[in-house]
Amino acid sequence: MGTRALVMAAYLLLPLPLAAQETDNENPAGKVVYDRWCAGCHGTDGRGEGPGALTMLPRPRDFTRALYQVRTTGSGELPTDDDIMHVINVGMPGTAMPGWEDLLSSQEREDLVTYLKSMSRFFNSSPPPAQLEFSNAPRVSDDRIAEGAEIYEQVECSKCHGRSGRADGPSAPTQKDDSDLPIYPANLTQNWRFNGGGTVEDIYRVLRTGLDGTPMPTFSDLIDAGVITDDQLWNLAHYVRSLSPEESPRIREVITAANVGDGEGGLPTSPTDERWETVDKFYIPLVGQIVVKPRWFNPRVQNLWVQALHDSADVAMLVSWSDPSRSPNEEWAPFAQQIVEAMGPKDEGSTWAPGAPDQLVVQFPLTLPTGMERPYFLQGDARRPAYLWSWRSDHDRAVEMVARGLGTGQEQPASSQQVSAEAAWADGEWRVLFRRSLATPDSTSDLQMPRATVVPVAFQAWDGNNGEAGNQAAVSTWYFLALEEPVPVTVLITPLAAFLLTAVLGLVVVTRAQRREKEIPGRN
């Protein structure tokens, strides 16, 4: 709001100079906006080579080629003005491109559309693009989703996106974009990160138009050739939509670990135990580690799901996340190498080498903080160390560490290792189950977790097949793990008793009042 107010104020103050700029061919109005807000990534000449571009994959658009991913026009066609405006307004989820609707006035954004088009000769030499005709979305049903699932296999979406939709298809390791740089297929289980939008209408549109500049082709030809009908393409869109949750996940700061007590066989001992399906899942978004060199601008693990339980003696924490491959994997090694090269090994000092594993760190403070102060979020510092559970896919085990800064973790001696981990990778997903007793014998190097307490917790994740190693990881901020106590029976009974007592007393009062009314003659 503040920014918009500033922009408005600027307009009120400067109506004449702006009007003058619109008619100035040398310095069109859109150029002023572009140079200020867009050139940092897309470059002053529009070729997608601005100073920020090297930290981005996929790279910013090259406007001189007029290749736009999000369109309502056919593959290879130019976008309409509304298409360009749409992306300026809402941005490209899952990429570095933000939405500008709240920052720039509608006049500025219109000027920008005109200016972007002036950067490519294709807009001058080609006739205005024709918008494809899109039908309306039919109402979703189980039958439609089931048919969509069949079409998903029939037209081989799984080749790239994988059978589970987690971008783990057999063709995924060789995907490249129009800049010849490696690119991932979309993870279809996370529609809030689809760069063309996550609604069923968005999905249908992308199926019709493709995403130009990426390996995603148009599927409109299937309808024209009678391979499937338009209605069936909608069913495919409904199926893809159904792979993601109905609502985008909410971030909750407190991960609760329910107390399972002694019943139901105690804590689950396997990451694939069915009982996890009924345990509350907490969504933890991650970002690239960009504080300590070498920094990492291209994290593969974008988010984790955390579930936790305890039984007063042990805590069990299941962490699951999408990862299209189990690192290390020879098939992915060239891909990882290309990622490392694209992200700049010389200035950042990548420590990645073939054979790098997937890793997960669950981070706690070494000692429970008494106030609000927690260790530095990147594995603590000398004053406030961090206590880590560090799991690696190549060793397939977790170890306890104490760290005083990112990457300084020292493995505790084997004799004092208390944490265990069991991992399972399937269909593009890791599930790692950590387990430790709440109290341990070495109270100086292990965090003790007293019952009914709240413990700060944070996460770091590495995908070795994405060129990640050392400090180049995805990281989270601090969250809390709350070890819940079983609810005593009295807690359940007291409100019920209070309710009943209130009801009985209320009845008595009402009955008495009614009696009194009857006893008073003359009242109607």
Binding site: R65, G76, L78, V155, E156, D178
Partner: protein
């Protein structure tokens, strides 16, 4: 396993095909002089009198150690594995038994009267069979129809990434699917790839005239019906880049020409774009611009 047909054979094949495919005005070619010819049904006579013309007969020779083509693992696609007999190899360098280099695109780069207007020529087919593009290198005149067909029972996408023309990325998940397209602007070369099968690539050269050819399995190519005169021919190879030769064509004569490629030429910039070069020491990026 693979038959690299010369340009003539290709055109002959394409003509046969055109009888069944009909004439679909190339969508990507709309607005082009050549594309309009087909769409409008205008018949342009060949402007060169065959009686006064000459021809070029050439060879592309490869010297040095012949690299062994890398084997392609098609085990993820059993039907393609079967089609190719499990012996598919990379087509990036194919040298014949007598030292000829296949899949070299040769065309007249300079010397032709630019006012001549040529017929667009018969449609050319780019087939996908055994998870391989047939042919691997295609020559087209601007506006000439290219029919892209899938003869495999698996999904292919056809991702064309030109810089002078508009690209496209279309899918063909079913055997027998085909579409027509054309390129209105000269461009040497346009890469085409299948993202489903990382080994599948093809290259299309588009020239403003019909004087282009692709060397066959023995490195042999030919160009007919050239007006007498001096020309600069360029030969393009996907790994070894380009080299040129000057030739003089005489009335009724056949001029012989030999292009030489060798191992040391690998790694040179191949004109095709855009090639994005990242210089991490200076933190800059630049592209090599393809030139025709």
């Amino acid at each position: 396993m693979l038959e690299i047909s010369g340009n003539k054979g290709l055109v002959a094949f394409a003509s046969l095909f055109a009888l069944t495919a009909g004439c679909g005005g190339g969508e990507a070619g709309s607005g082009a002089a050549g594309g309009d010819q087909a769409a409008a049904g205008v018949v342009v006579e060949h402007p060169v009198d065959a009686a006064t013309a000459g021809s070029v007969s050439g060879t592309v020779a490869f010297s040095g150690d012949v690299p062994t083509p890398a084997a392609i693992d098609m085990s993820d696609e059993p039907s393609c594995q079967e089609e190719t007999g499990g012996t598919a190899v990379s087509e990036s360098v194919l040298v014949g038994s007598e030292g000829g280099l296949a899949n070299v695109f040769v065309y007249v780069k300079e010397g032709l009267d630019s006012s001549l207007e040529f017929p667009t020529g018969d449609p050319v087919v780019l087939d996908q069979k055994g998870c391989t593009y047939l042919p691997h290198v295609v020559g087209l005149s601007m506006g000439q129809q290219l029919t892209v067909r899938n003869s495999d029972e698996v999904l292919h996408n056809i991702n064309a990434t030109p810089t002078e023309n508009r690209g496209f990325n279309r899918s063909q998940p079913q055997v027998g699917m085909e579409f027509e397209t054309s390129f209105p602007t000269p461009e040497v070369m346009i890469p085409i790839r299948c993202d489903v099968h990382g080994w599948m690539d093809a290259y299309v050269g588009v020239t403003p005239h019909p004087y282009h050819a692709v060397s066959d399995a023995n490195g042999v190519f030919a160009m007919d019906r050239l007006p007498p005169g001096d020309y600069l021919l360029e030969a393009w190879h996907e790994l070894y880049g380009t080299t040129t030769q000057s030739v003089t064509v005489e009335q009724g004569g056949t001029t012989s020409v030999t292009f030489e490629f060798n191992e040391a030429m690998a790694g040179q910039p191949v004109p095709m774009g855009p090639v994005l070069v990242v210089d991490h020491t200076t933190g800059t990026m630049h592209r090599t611009i393809p030139r025709l």
